[in-house]
């Protein structure tokens, strides 16, 4: 305390004001940490750099099919958290022509003895392909309820648009299934 007593009142007032200003900076930076979340999301959306695909149907207006170009689309499935549900694509990969719509199916079975709600989260590699993969129908658009033991065949209808960068000849579409029973039906 003694040091403080010794200070001239003017220095003391200036110091206190300064400390308060810095506290505001601290609070602002705390807010900034949270603001980074929408900022990153906007940046990724604008640049399409996250391998994320929109979780809603794209209007894939028919375009000129490019029959001379063939791209391999591979399908990968994972179940989050080491659960042993069955979840696999009915075909490991297909050859597609950009501009044409294709339908593929995925099989899933809830091997647990209780009902659950699952949500599939898609991701695309390479990331450049993400904004060129247009899906008109996908089981990932909605949460999927499963009864105990229930099995489903789930379709995906998609097309690669012809703007896909020319050096991309192989696209991997991956789905991870999450158990969202706890947070089910809440809009994210």
């Amino acid at each position: 305390m003694s040091g403080r007593e010794q200070q001239q009142p003017s220095v003391r007032r200036a110091s206190n004001m300064h400390a308060v200003r810095l506290l505001f900076v601290t609070a602002a930076m705390f807010g900034f940490g949270f603001a980074l979340v929408p900022m990153y999301n906007m940046l990724c959306d604008a640049l399409g750099i996250n391998g994320k695909i929109e979780l809603k149907a794209a209007d894939a207006a028919p375009v000129d099919v490019d029959p001379n170009r063939t791209v391999t689309v591979e399908f990968v499935t994972t179940v989050n958290g080491g659960r042993n549900w069955e979840f696999h694509p009915d075909q490991p990969s297909i050859e597609v022509h950009p501009g044409k719509l294709y339908t593929v199916t995925f099989f899933a079975r809830n091997t647990e003895d209780h009902d659950l709600v699952a949500q599939a989260v898609p991701n695309i590699a390479p990331w450049e392909a993400a904004k060129h993969l247009k899906k008109t129908e996908c089981f990932c658009f909605n949460q999927q309820p499963f009864k105990a033991g229930e099995a489903k065949d789930m379709p995906v209808v998609f097309m690669l648009d012809p703007e896909l960068p020319p050096d991309v000849d192989r696209v991997t579409l991956s789905y991870t299934f999450f158990d969202v029973s706890d947070i089910a039906m809440k809009p994210n």
Partner: protein, 547 residues
Amino acid sequence: MAHAHDAHAHHDDHHHGPDKGIMRWIKTTNHKDLGTLYLFFAFTMFFIGGLMSLVIRAELFHPGLQFVQPEFFNQMTTMHALVMIFGGVMPGFVGLANWMVPMMIGCSDLALPRVNNWGFWILPFAFAMLIGTLFMDGGAPAGGWTMYPPLVLQTGNAFPFLIFAVHLMGISSITGAINVVVTILNMRAPGMTLLKMPLFVWTWLITAYLLIAVMPVLAGAVTMLLTDKYFGTSFFTAAGGGDPVMFQHIFWFFGHPEVYIMILPAFGIVSTIIPTFARKSLFGYDSMVYASASIAFLSFIVWAHHMFTVGMPLAGELFFMFATMLIAVPTGVKVFNWVATMWKGSMTFETPMLFSIAFVFLFTIGGFSGLMLAMTPVDFQYHDTYFVVAHFHYVLVPGAVFSIIAAVYYWIPKWTGRMYNEFWGKVHFWLSAVFINLTFFPQHFAGLAGMQRRVPDYAVQFTDFNVISTIGAFGFFVAQFIFIFNMLSSCFGWFGRKQGLPDRVWEGAHGLEWTVASPAPYHTFEDPPQFSDSEGTAIHDEAVAKA
């Protein structure tokens, strides 16, 4: 201690010494007392964190599992890092700032002494909470000090304690930082302009700004982890539309400035010690200040070099690669300035000088391995290997930790009025220098050959490197007791150590702290000193040239 202090009614109190007994330490608002407390706390944490690292090294002595289960091993790597960073290095530097900043700028105490007391006493609670998690169901946090989700969300009962401990450490650092900024900018002795401040004061000013800018971001990030786990938010949970990589971006926005928080005060310390024992003023004072400031600025735009492998666009990888390499320029300026300060100096090699020279040499090795890691294409090979472990231990142990040790050797005669034992100081230095290199140099090779970090077991071809590393680690740990005893002897006058040193303990030392008695009285500079031209010119080389 028994009489209740009225904060405003003990005007003549400062002519007395400190209170007696334990209450002195609990209630103290004196910057020297708090500096001492911070330093004792930091070295206690170095000891605990050191024991954890010995568990790690013992397990890695041979391939296969010998002593501990993988789960416990992971708790050790996580806790070792958290304890060393937030409990050892950062409070160590805050302790030095407490002791030295007021004495260097010629004011009687920090600007907000109550806040200072509070900032310190949060820490024992934070670390009791953190270390207490070792005894909980599910054990301590084991997902790495970087707390990446989704892994960290699987932590057991320890999870909320981890988060709150981080919050408390953050509050403590921020209060300390605000105090330092306010003190330096409002309370300098007349005549001490900004560009005449000792470099330790400068680097701490910049460090304090970094702390104010990024500790709240860390607090935000861990708060988001907390709500993701308990309140159903999905900031980082993919199932709800969040993104785990987002956490890495936010964490490293804090994390890279954090590594400079741990090294800038060290730059200040060696910039103080080397001129003293080279008996020359620091070469390129202005460039040192500008280099520190540019390092601090650049540290905000390089964070993604920790995440080259997450799948960033090429343009992003290039940007972060070049920005990172840019940091080597101001860092190089500093290293050249230290060397130029020694050039043609009348050097002597007392223990603080030995540690400072070792700092320059070994920190630079860490900087070079950093440059290698900064190259995106090769980082794909090095990332998450022991090469990274070697890199950051070179900058943190013979870097930050050596600088703290050097600072304690350098200033302890001023603090206690008793010289440390030079012979044992030198023994301590050489053992430390040898063992620290034995510990960490082989890890470069193990990493380049493909040994991953954070694993309790490894392929047999890495055995030799790990054996050497473990021997070095145990040797280094044991050698530190020489230091502890040497310093405690100066504190308590063991082995018949007598007080009675001149004010200017080192004849080549300059700055206001050397104009007060040794040991420094409980209250110094109650009346602001005049910062004399001779003291100033000794600190600032340009002024010498003009004089």
